[in-house]
C-alpha cells in the first residue's frame, strides 16, 4: 500500500473496506462453514461411491472421474450442486440484505455520501466486494476438490473436465450474484434490515418450494386428460410446464449445472423417439453442453443485471437523510 502509483481511488478503497467487513462478520463465517461442511459431506459420500460409479460402464460419463466426484451420491445426501442450488441463494441474501439500509440506520450513509464519491460506486462496491469473496470461496473449493482428487486417485484430468468444472463455478457465481443483487434492491427498498432479509428469504422459499407446486396446480386445472391428447399436444403441454418452471432462478441454475456436470445430458426437454433414433449414448463435447445451457446462463445474467438496474434506479436520485 506504500507505493503512490497504486492509488486505488475511492472505489478501490470502498471495496477494500467492504471485503474486510465481510470477512470479519460472523454471519459470513457461519455461511462459509455451512458450505464447506456441505462440500466435505458431499465429497465424502462421492469418494465412497466413486469406485462403483467409474466401474459402471453403462453410464457414458463413467470416465470423467472429477465430474463424478462432484455428482456421485448414494442417495443418502444430495450431490454438491443440488445442495448449492438452495444454499447459494442464502449466501447471496446474507451478503446483501442489509447493504444499504444498515448504513442508513447507523447514520454512516449520510457521512459516506458527503464524501466526494459517486453514488453508484457505493452500490457497485457492495456488489463487487461480495462477489469477490464468493468467487474466492468457490474457486478455492473447486481447486481443493481437484487437488484432493489428484492426490487420492492419481488419475489425469481431462482438459474438458477442467473447463466443465470452471463453467460450473462461473454459473454458481452468477447464481449467487442474482440473489445478491436482488437482496441489495430489497435493502434499498426497505428501511429495516429484518424486513428486507425476510422478504428475500420469502422469495427464495417461494421459488424453491412453492413455485413448482403452484405451477402444477394451475396447469392441472386446465390440462385435459392426457389419454385423449395426441403426442404433439402432450409435448406442447410439457414444454409449457417446463418453460413456466424456468422462470424460477433455481430451475435455471440446476438445468445449467446438471448439463455441464453430466456430459451425456443432450436436452433439457422431452426427446422424442425419432430424435433419439441413431444417437450413440456418448458424452457431448464441452462446447455443445455450453450451447444447451446458454439460454439458462443468459437468463440468470439478465435477471442479475435487471435487479442491479433497479437498485440504481431506486438509489440514484433518492434523498439521503439519517
Amino acid at each position: 500500500m506504500k507505493s503512490q502509483s497504486l492509488d486505488p481511488g475511492p472505489f478501490g478503497v470502498m471495496i477494500h473496506k467492504e471485503i474486510a467487513d465481510h470477512i470479519r462478520s460472523w454471519r459470513f463465517s457461519i455461511l462459509i462453514a455451512l458450505i464447506v461442511l456441505t462440500f466435505i459431506a458431499a465429497m465424502y459420500v462421492s469418494l465412497a461411491n466413486i469406485k462403483s460409479a467409474i466401474g459402471n460402464t453403462k453410464d457414458p460419463d463413467h470416465l470423467f472421474l472429477y465430474l463424478k466426484l462432484l455428482t456421485t451420491t448414494d442417495n443418502s445426501i444430495p450431490p454438491f450442486h443440488v445442495f448449492l442450488s438452495f444454499l447459494a441463494p442464502l449466501l447471496g441474501i446474507c451478503l446483501g440484505f442489509d447493504a444499504v439500509n444498515s448504513e442508513q440506520n447507523s447514520g454512516t450513509l449520510t457521512r459516506l455520501m458527503a464524501q466526494p464519491i459517486y453514488r453508484d460506486n457505493l452500490l457497485l462496491a457492495k456488489f463487487v466486494s461480495a462477489l469477490v469473496i464468493v468467487s474466492g470461496l468457490f474457486v478455492a473449493l473447486a481447486l481443493l476438490m481437484i487437488g484432493g482428487g489428484l492426490v487420492l486417485t492419481g488419475v489425469r484430468m481431462e482438459p474438458q473436465e477442467l473447463l466443465r468444472i470452471l463453467g460450473f463455478i462461473v454459473i454458481t457465481i452468477v447464481y449467487v450474484a442474482f440473489w445478491l443483487s436482488l437482496s441489495i434492491v430489497l435493502s434499498i427498498l426497505f428501511k429495516q434490515a429484518a424486513t428486507s432479509a425476510l422478504t428475500a428469504i420469502g422469495i427464495w422459499l417461494f421459488f424453491t418450494i412453492f413455485y413448482q407446486i403452484v405451477i402444477n396446480l394451475i396447469v392441472k386445472s386446465f390440462l385435459p386428460d392426457p389419454a385423449y391428447l395426441s403426442q404433439a399436444e402432450i409435448i406442447s403441454y410439457n414444454d409449457l410446464i417446463l418453460n413456466l418452471q424456468r422462470i424460477a432462478p433455481n430451475q435455471l441454475y440446476s438445468d445449467a449445472v446438471t448439463t455441464l456436470l453430466m456430459p451425456s445430458v443432450r436436452s433439457l426437454g422431452p426427446v422424442t423417439m425419432e430424435q433419439m433414433a441413431g444417437a450413440i449414448p456418448a458424452p457431448l463435447p464441452f462446447k455443445e453442453s455450453v450451447m444447451i445451457v446458454w439460454p439458462q446462463v443468459s437468463g440468470l445474467m439478465a435477471s442479475t443485471a435487471g435487479c442491479f438496474a433497479f437498485a440504481y434506479y431506486f438509489f440514484m436520485r433518492r434523498e439521503i437523510r439519517s
Binding site: Y118, R321, S322
Partner: protein
C-alpha cells in the same frame, strides 16, 4: 471579505403539498461563521442537503465554492466538510480506522494519511482514544470524531447540522470554542444549524432566522435586534443611592434627548429605554446632577428575545408538520 462562498438563489424544496424550503436567498461570505437558526422542521437540514447535492431542489440553485451543488455535487463535496446531525460510525472499527477510511475516500495520499489523522485527532482532543471502537464512544466523543472526519479532508467550508445536539453544557462550550478557533486560524467558512439560541449566539458572526422554510431575518445579533426592536433595542438601568422622588424633576430634561424613548422610575432604580447606547452620557449626566450612582446595568436584547419575537408572530400558525417530512 465580500466574497460569497455559498450562494443560494430562490432555493425551494417541496414535499407534496408542503414547502419545506421556500424561495431561500442567502449569501455566506468566506471566513465567516453563519448560524442557521430555526425550530425543528423549519427546513434547515433540507437546505443543507440541497447545498451538498444530497437532495434535488424543486427549483432554484445552490452554488457552493463556485460549483452548482445539484449538477456537480462531487466537486462541491471535495471542498465541503459536512457533519450530519446524527453522525454515525462503523461500530466495528476504531476511531482511527473510521477516520483513515474517510481520508482515503477523499484521496489523501497514503504517506500523509498517518500524519494528518494524528493531527486532526490531536486538534479535536481524541488522540488518547483513537484505538477505541467507536461503539464505546459517548455522544460528545462521536461529535468530536465527526469534526475530525470533516477536517481530515482539508475543507474550505464546514457545514455542521445541529452540532450541539445532545452534548452536555461543558462539551458544548468546548466544541463551539473549537469551531471558532478553527475558523479563525484556518480561515474556514462555517455554516452551523441549530435550534439552540445561546450556542449560536456564542460563536456566530451572522445569524439567519429560518422559520417554516423562509428566512425571516439575517445579520449580526446587533443588527437583528435593531431591525426587530427598532427604537427600543437598548435598556439601561441605573441605581442611585437615594430614592428618587416622583415626579422626578430631571425627567423632562432627559425626555428631551432624542435617543430616549421611555423612562421608568422604581424607588432608587431608573430604567431608560433608548434607540442607541446612551449609558455613558446618562451616568455623566446623573453624576453632574449630584446623584450617587451605585450600579449601572446595560441590557442588550439577545437572540432569545429575537427568537421569541419571531415565534410570537408565527405561533398563530400551527407547527404540525414538525419533522414529519423526514
Amino acid at each position: 471579505m465580500k466574497d460569497p462562498i455559498i450562494q443560494l438563489k430562490g432555493l425551494t424544496k417541496q414535499y407534496g403539498a408542503v414547502k419545506a424550503v421556500d424561495g431561500l436567498n442567502l449569501d455566506i461570505n468566506k471566513g465567516e461563521i453563519f448560524g442557521l437558526l430555526g425550530p425543528n422542521g423549519a427546513g434547515k437540514t433540507t437546505t443543507i442537503l440541497m447545498m451538498l447535492g444530497l437532495t434535488d431542489p424543486t427549483s432554484g440553485t445552490a452554488f457552493v465554492c463556485g460549483h452548482n451543488a445539484t449538477s456537480n455535487p462531487i466537486s462541491v463535496k471535495k471542498k465541503v466538510g459536512y457533519m450530519p446531525d446524527s453522525v454515525g460510525f462503523y461500530d466495528n472499527m476504531t476511531a482511527l480506522e473510521n477516520l483513515v477510511y474517510i481520508g482515503r475516500l477523499n484521496g489523501v495520499p497514503e504517506n500523509e494519511l498517518k500524519k494528518r489523522s494524528a493531527e486532526v485527532l490531536e486538534i479535536v482532543g481524541l488522540a488518547a482514544d483513537q484505538h477505541k471502537k467507536t461503539s464505546a464512544f459517548s455522544r460528545g466523543m462521536k461529535q468530536r470524531l465527526g469534526l475530525a472526519d470533516v477536517l481530515i479532508k482539508n475543507p474550505e467550508v464546514i457545514i455542521l447540522d445541529e452540532p450541539t445536539l445532545g452534548i452536555d453544557p461543558t462539551g458544548v462550550r468546548d466544541f463551539l470554542a473549537l469551531i471558532k478557533q478553527l475558523s479563525r486560524q484556518q480561515g474556514l467558512t462555517v455554516l452551523l444549524s441549530s435550534h439552540h439560541l445561546h450556542h449560536v449566539q456564542q460563536v456566530c458572526d451572522r445569524v439567519g432566522i429560518f422559520v417554516k422554510g423562509q428566512l425571516l431575518a439575517q445579520g449580526d445579533i446587533g443588527a437583528l435586534s435593531g431591525q426587530l426592536f427598532g427604537a427600543d433595542s437598548h435598556v439601561t438601568s441605573i441605581r442611585v443611592a437615594q430614592p428618587v422622588s416622583q415626579p422626578w424633576q430631571q425627567e423632562p430634561e432627559l425626555q428631551a434627548w432624542e435617543a430616549i424613548t421611555q423612562i421608568r422610575i422604581h424607588e432608587n432604580e431608573l430604567e431608560f429605554t433608548s434607540s442607541r447606547d446612551v449609558t455613558a452620557a446618562l451616568v455623566r449626566f446623573l453624576v453632574g446632577k449630584g446623584y450617587d450612582v451605585i450600579g449601572v446595568n446595560q441590557k442588550n436584547y439577545g437572540l432569545d428575545d429575537i427568537y421569541q419575537k419571531y415565534f410570537e408572530s408565527n405561533s398563530t400558525k400551527n407547527t404540525s408538520y414538525e419533522k414529519s417530512i423526514s
